[in-house]
Symmetry: C2
Subunit: 397 residues, 2 copies
């Protein structure tokens, strides 16, 4: 047969062969499988065995759309509707929850609906880079609350009050405030309730960025008294991602989760639907596991403090961030490793190599002077193994 | 030990137990596994066996970030950098490509950078709903090119010229135009080159929405002569998703893919990084398979035409959309099934039930009067089985 219409050259073997040849050579095996991973970004996103067991059925693109009626969070088979409209609101203490492609997408969604280009917002200086980039994308001006000096780097809650007042006086009253709870550099947990009270009194809506909280530790928007909360599935809810959650109080839900004028099933800020398929199934399948680990949070903090206490016994290692520490994400100043690196033939990379030789990964290759890590979900035995490894490596001449 | 700081009630057993109880009961098995799926949305996102084999290593959240240096498309292990900056630009015929969370996110990204709120854009009336919602999210006004009457529903390329002229006269010159290639209702393929020429002459940048083209059929932005192309990993590139690609010519790349002022590694419109982990690995792992099937596109069109020819031999079934058809996505008017539904005890659901009983799914439950389907990737034997099923069902009294 011949085509009656060929707008384009439907076969271009030069392009196809060239690409295929290059691409077939690539190695997609994951190098560091099976090691203990200390990367805070990754520890909360490890998929439990019970979730792995079901994911195989949902790998295809748009797999959850088998019985879709036009809206991701209205799908009943699998029971996404109940999960998004009942389970998650209770879990997060929100009136309404929606699925996003990640915490950053949730932050942008809120900024983009609540603010106009050129508006001012107030953000704690420890905020994640994606908070600043989301504000930049929305065309907003940013004021930051300061932090205390090293080694604590703490956010003073009352700075939210003074900054708001200062901004008001300058005719730049913030349209929105955001608190990072905890931050991703030091794992500091400011008093979110206090910040929420300050913002409420000043009538400034407050976002809680809980990317390192939701799915790791108990957190409840209503108890905090803020207006919005965002969480990350791939960062802290044992989900494959990209996926996140955004929760709001009744007051804001209608505006932020508004439906399209012409497509009454489609959320405007969600562009209709967000994280379909395998990602949302991983979030749902891991949820009972997440509930259990959240209930075990006291133990996680205890483990983190034990690790910090032991590791700081090594001469030349100091804990950074608030002490005693309240989160599994911890930062350390490690001059002992930096000193070794100055004479080691592998320079800064010796630490990565030495840890890897001991079955440990997750400290960025090259770093020695200071780094962050997380003990989330590790057993006491694994933690002891890591402490032992650092102690051994500190003795290298 | 006791906590020195407890801002929040860290244990709230009532909430936790309630959620857990409800959630543990849910069934996450996929009902329609193993059936032949005719849903056009899903046929191009089926994950091949060779990709399944590797995905197990990458299920964890942020899995590809093991060796990240601050930017998703700069990751070298796994070789994402080469894939995004060499393989994909060649495949799509673009100067620059970035990863998105889906085609719709790519469209919004372009609209949000090229246009200001209140600007006008021109879109073919057959555009996907997410194009209209993306424009709504960006605060844009929309003009639509018309289509021909039923049953063809074709976009006339020259209407882009007349509409642009009309809009210019009214002081509403479009800042951007978009052509859906093919559209998702009828699978019509307008002459994209012709539309691109019209837009170029009028100095209106043109987006090709290739969500149903990229990964299914050969398509090349430079050959078309447009400015942008978006594709969907989960829809047509055998990827799990959510994931998409956006490509641009040199002229626009700097603006649309601009980096943050304060974070030189982070794309503003990408909010730093987009689809990490398992999703991008599925896109990369499936790529050699996608290359092969794109080279087989003539056969796919031949299969679609064969199916259409056979099915329209049934009294009361008519093909909708351009004929002969040039894409695997096809729409049919099926009055024969509607007639049966009026007296059948299962009403409109009889068709879904009867197909399922024959191992076939993907026609929305309840539909009988008209529906769309796709034969993409099906063998001739499977296609014959589907034709046979429809013929049998058409005889039900």
């Amino acid at each position: 047969m011949t085509f009656q219409k060929t707008n384009l050259d439907h076969k271009n073997p030069s392009i196809i062969n060239h690409n295929q040849e290059n691409h077939n050579k690539i190695n997609l095996n994951r190098e560091n499988l099976g090691l203990i991973n200390l990367n805070p970004l990754q520890r909360g996103g490890i998929i439990p065995l019970e979730t792995r067991a079901i994911l195989n059925q949902w790998l295809d693109g748009y797999s959850v759309c088998d019985f879709c009626r036009g809206c991701l969070d209205k799908i009943q088979r699998p029971p996404i509707e109940t999960f998004v409209h009942k389970t998650l609101p209770k879990f997060l203490g929100c009136d309404e929850v929606r699925i996003t492609n990640g915490a950053r997408e949730g932050k942008f969604m809120i900024m983009h609906t609540i603010c106009e280009k050129g508006d001012w917002i107030l953000i704690d200086v420890n905020a994640h880079y994606s908070t600043f980039v989301a504000a930049e994308r929305a065309g907003l001006n940013i004021e930051k609350t300061p932090k205390t000096s090293a080694p604590e780097h703490k956010i003073n809650e009352t700075d939210f009050a003074s900054k708001i007042k200062e901004m008001e006086t300058a005719g730049r009253k913030p349209k929105l405030a955001l608190l990072t709870y905890p931050d991703g550099n030091y794992g500091n947990l400011p008093d979110a309730k206090k910040v929420a009270e300050i913002c409420r009194n000043a009538e400034v809506p407050l976002i809680i960025n809980g990317a390192y909280a939701v799915g790791r530790m108990p957190i409840n928007l209503k108890e905090i008294g803020a207006d919005f909360i965002v969480g990350s599935g791939h960062k802290s809810m044992a989900a494959s991602g990209p996926i996140g959650v955004v929760g709001a109080t009744k007051k804001w839900a209608e505006q932020v989760f508004a439906k399209s004028k012409n497509y009454p099933l489609k959320g405007v800020e969600e562009l209709g639907c967000t994280s379909r398929g395998h990602s949302i199934i991983s979030l749902m399948a891991s949820f009972p596991y997440v509930i259990k680990r959240v209930a075990n949070w006291d133990k996680e903090v205890e483990n983190a403090r034990y690790f910090s206490d032991e590791i700081t016994k090594i001469r030349g290692i100091k804990a950074i961030g608030e002490q005693p520490h309240n989160h599994d994400l911890m930062a350390f100043e490690t001059l002992v490793f930096y000193e070794i690196s100055t004479t080691h033939k592998r320079r800064g990379f010796f630490l990565y190599d030495e840890l890897k030789a001991r079955g440990i990964t997750g400290i960025k290759p090259g770093l020695t002077k200071n780094f962050k890590l997380s003990t989330f979900g590790l057993t006491r035995k694994e933690i002891d193994k890591i402490i032992g490894a650092f102690k051994e490596i500190a003795k290298i001449k």
